[in-house]
Symmetry: D4
Subunit: 225 residues, 8 copies
């Protein structure tokens, strides 16, 4: 067991990269500007790249002043990326969505997978209501090492996709929908109950974990363990 | 407002056929043998055919003694049919299931649709895990006036089917599954949240109502109103 | 399997009319103004009428500038209608509500059914607390080919109506209510559990799908398959 | 604050009659035969009549040996009645059910109301699927001081009845149904959300409390406070 | 079956008073100002007093201009009262709350009970955390014909009170609380499961129905049927 | 970090006593007879007393043959106790129940608290429907260092008790009840939402953890840390 | 049974300190400024210290004018403290959180424990994703008499901590998280189901009750009963 | 799109191996003996190995007569394995459980992973209540390419494990537990909400899918894509 940086309100797990292979990420939403700055600085000075998720534009604007030129923001994904060292992106992760409403979550997954070292290809709005759109793209999708399949409402896209490919599918439910969608619970249940094998599931709207897991698998496939 | 047969423990709505177009059905499960016999007799003597649902083999054996030759039992569907007058079957209802576990419910739907006057075609075990099985049959399925699409687990079959046809799809969730299937609630939610339009839903395992509604629509399409 | 228009963030399923009988609809809520404009334009230039649902007044005002004279808005329904070709309306769909709070959802159903080619008659605020209001109108309601029965709170209206008519009833629960109404879940459950046969159900507040399905059945009854 | 009989495993609240107007009842289900006997004896020797609910036939057979001639059993209601002193029954409680499956619960309500001193009239199987059956009996039902309206499945009967009468309606949901009936939760929610005022609700299958409350109100109306 | 006033968007059930004993109430929340005015006018001109519930101050200010001197507002209860004819208040309804947070709901119950003809006595903030407060008032509370017992959070007040009195207790759960209170569901469940008999329950925050039912019972006790 | 006994199918945490103050307990329910025997033997030979919970009589009979004279069974609690060394019992834990149905769970709590070193006093069937029974015993109950308050159905007993004492109350919900009791969830929610401070809660029917925690606190109060 | 201060809208339980050992606390959120002032004044004049929870800064600013110099506010905890008499703080309560998002709730627990007489040590952001942070601090944490373990999301921290210590752990779930965290319900369930014994649980975000209970146990351990 | 074997009641997706990389599995539970035999025969004659899951001993005994010497049964896993061609097992999947109650599910995962070509190492009963057991084995566990982490009750094991390793963790909740474990839902929610990244989740008790997905990833890591 090793060291961490103690900021009193937060304890930065700088040992994580060595232990787990990838650096700790900053969940920005509940943090105040000064807290964020302290955290970003501490990681940065420790030599790391930093990924911040669920960050507001206002948080980004604040941080930008201190890391001009090294920091960028993806407005749809709500991610902040602070770069110390170039990231090598290898292999291929396919990120597909059922509808246009799922794009924000898809972008978070994409930013995360890229940050940790994967090439990403995106296929948006190819849901099962118009199966032709999916079938037209399936040969291309099959080339990826891992697929992140994203859907709200009834969330059936991962089941259909997994039935057509020979790689792992990470199912990512979104809170898109209303009424009986129960803020994404319905899509989540659909995915957990899939009759198609080879699907594993992450939390509703958790683009970050989907992107992280996809990247982890993709890199292990590319580089071996 | 008109008359009914008063059996004290039950009031038989014999006016229903005139008012609603179709005769009352007997929900057998909670009834004792003698009660069932009284009800079947009363309807029969009133000149009607009788459909009993959720009937045990034991209940059928008891009734059989009193209606020898006119009464039959579908063991999978658990339906009893007592025939006074020949039933004319018209049009076409397609009944499709995702898996083999859904067949009992499908048979209840089928027996009901046939009892009330529809021709039925069945397509069992064509779920989305092997899409080829569905696509191979889709041209045939498209010929029906109405489709009853049945699935347990993630319940995605109706969404996929409805996206490929131009007739109404009645979605029928089953309690097949385990864990997060929540005894069919998950499949039910999937169907209610379908992003494909033209799907309406009935209660979990309610083959009776699916068959009834499919028949009602099928006959109206065939005969007009 | 055929073509679609690829807008990158959206893939327009223009083959849908041929395949399913009716054109794709635009779910406006999650889309940005420019995205909406691109989509409406693409469909329009392809020769189609366009129906937009869950659209804000602000979205309509934006689109209006580009389709002056051809586009209109129903404020209660929150629907946008862009007309290329006259719509022929046939048959009859009855849309009834339990209370005045259900009118917004009823209007969405009505606009949808009319857009796709049905005549619509409306019966608002005839819920079961004052049964006289329903019974007074029942003869008129019975003339429709299909009934959309809408209710929030305890959602019992469809059960009562279906018991009095000989046509399909599409039950549409609304989120009107409080406390144990659970945002419409209670009404939804009521409708799914109806002891009256011939009722099928759609998602909470989903006026669009109720109107679509009612229209689909109504037209099949009028024109046959 | 006063005395009770201490049986170690149970403390009999013999002061309850004085404090609350009616004697404590014995919930038989979880008790062993010897415990039941001790309790029945203690109350009986204290001069009270005893009502036991949710009692098995086996429990009754055991007790019968000790109270021959004074004890009786209602098999549907699963109630045991041990009589010390004649019960005067006054006023009128109407007990109505939607279906035949609700009769067991209705009988428990009836036995309870009679035990504590009410006249009871029963109207079974007059649910809303065949409204004619209800409307035919409504004038008779209106004569009661209180109505216990019992239904499973969608549970809409109390709402419809309350809209037609000028006395309190106690709504009693039953666990009759399947799938989305959620063991009576759906009927319970329906009743709680009723748009008809003047309905109050008791727990699922709680015939005892419905009968108790109906009797309490009925007697207060008859005798004043 | 008789007449109603048809305002197109609403059908006023003016026959209700004759049929049910009490006049229809106006649920103001979802209605626009002009709709409210039309409804209030129609009832008023028909000779009735009018009670509006869940009304905003803004709605009241608008109506006030048209009924100056005859209309009043209870800000906590959010009720509007428009008086045509003096109301005679008889008997006694006790309204008790567990905490101060329940007062708004209590006031709605109180206003309703008074509007329909009951005298009301209030006992606020006598919850079970300090049982002495309840026991100090219990003799006074026992004088009422009916008790409305209101509580949020764990909702145990009705159970305790009912165990100490000999009149009906109407249990009214409120949405006061947080976390596992689930917006009042927890209190509702508590009340439904009460081990104390003689409690019936209404919907969360439904002061109106509690007041209505309490008044109905109170008046029947005072005047007989 | 230290040693454990590795039985392949189970790893016995013999370091736990040193680390946590008390020995690991054996959850018997899911284990086969031979597995149980291996585990009891290993602990016993290691010098420990052994407590087995949720054990069937059949499991006990099997073990008894191998530990004759040293092993005993509490049939209500379903606990097995194997004694190597005398247990010193100090302080006082009060265990109270609302009804007789809660006694099995209470006995499990009692056996556990005694096994780990507490004196226990029991107060059964003193629920709030007859408050006199609780108030009569409250002075005695106040003498304990910790109170375990057990109730099913509406679960209000802990709230009332905690309001009358100055020691910690551990609330233990049971699955006693039906309908809306939701197998104890309702009682659990009641306890979590208690408006009385000083209550902490354990899982439904978890007499073991309630007894363990009560003992832990009781001994710390008696002996200090 | 004794006296309380009757403010009409509230009844102040001034007997509570004698009866329960600690003074009543003021739940500020639902109260108006003038009500708060009346309550604070009444307690203060009665000689007590006052703790207000869930207070807004605006409420504090209002009260401050009347108790200048004696009143203070913790912005994170949202607690107001009005001091009449010095508080002696003894023993030790450890308050630990899984993440930085849990700090607000932790501060409420801390303020409460200190107000009622405990020394508090805080360990923030030592969640199980980086176990090294917890293990590094465990020796220090073990010195406390009681531990309050706070976590949102999956809420596993209390289980892990309790397995490493020999004192009671009060588990406090927070609503931090999204999607399937269900506003803290998921963390709550985790804690209730802990396989580690010696954990008891309080309501989601209920820092007050966790702090109160921890203090109560801590003081009893320090001072005996 | 290609061929399947049509058995009428089932359609065998023999194209699946080519399309997805692995052969279809037989879910035995809902099937009759003759149906099972037909299916096993068809696959076997087609040259495939067959894996049957959720099979009873009775089903195995029946099949055994037809495939003597080639078929075997794992009683804990309830899996049937019929071998045509030797299976090469490569790489390493670690399967770990929190308790002994999780072993049945673990064995299903293990049998599945081995059937499809992975080497498996098992670590049973190393749950977090005794963290020493996990930490002692962690170096060994880190050698696997993928980890399946299985737990019931609070389900925290995957979160803790994932924080210590650099490979993907598939979290598999079991229905072991009672009360608030809600038949595994609590463990499922815990896993979905994990604050540790790199965890994906499968359905409750779904050892099959966990084993399938782990094998799929393991083989891709070993062999590349």
């Amino acid at each position: 067991m090793k060291k961490y940086i103690d900021l009193d309100f937060a304890k930065l797990d700088i040992e994580r990269k060595e232990r787990r292979g990838f650096q700790e990420t900053v969940f920005c939403e509940p943090k105040e500007n000064n807290e964020l700055l302290e955290i970003f600085k501490a990681f940065f000075e420790n030599g790391a790249n930093v990924l911040g998720t669920r960050a507001s534009l206002e948080q980004f604007e604040f941080l930008k002043k201190h890391f001009e030129g090294k920091i960028s923001y993806n407005k749809k994904a709500k991610t902040i990326t602070l770069i110390n060292n170039e990231i090598e992106q290898i292999g291929e992760v396919a990120i597909i969505t059922g509808g246009t409403g799922d794009i924000a979550v898809a972008e978070e997954a994409s930013e995360t997978a890229k940050f940790f070292g994967s090439r990403v290809k995106k296929y948006y709005d190819i849901g099962i209501a118009g199966l032709n759109r999916l079938l037209d793209n399936i040969e291309e999708i099959r080339k990826a090492n891992v697929i992140v399949a994203i859907a709200g409402m009834e969330g059936a896209l991962p089941s259909v996709v997994a039935g057509l490919v020979n790689v792992p599918v990470i199912a990512l439910p979104t809170s898109v929908g209303y009424g009986a969608s129960l803020n994404g619970l319905s899509a989540l249940l659909t995915m957990l109950n899939s009759c198609t094998e080879g699907i594993t599931v992450v939390n509703i709207d958790n683009g970050f974990n989907a992107g992280y897991s996809a990247n982890q698998i993709n890199r292990l496939i590319e580089k071996g363990k």
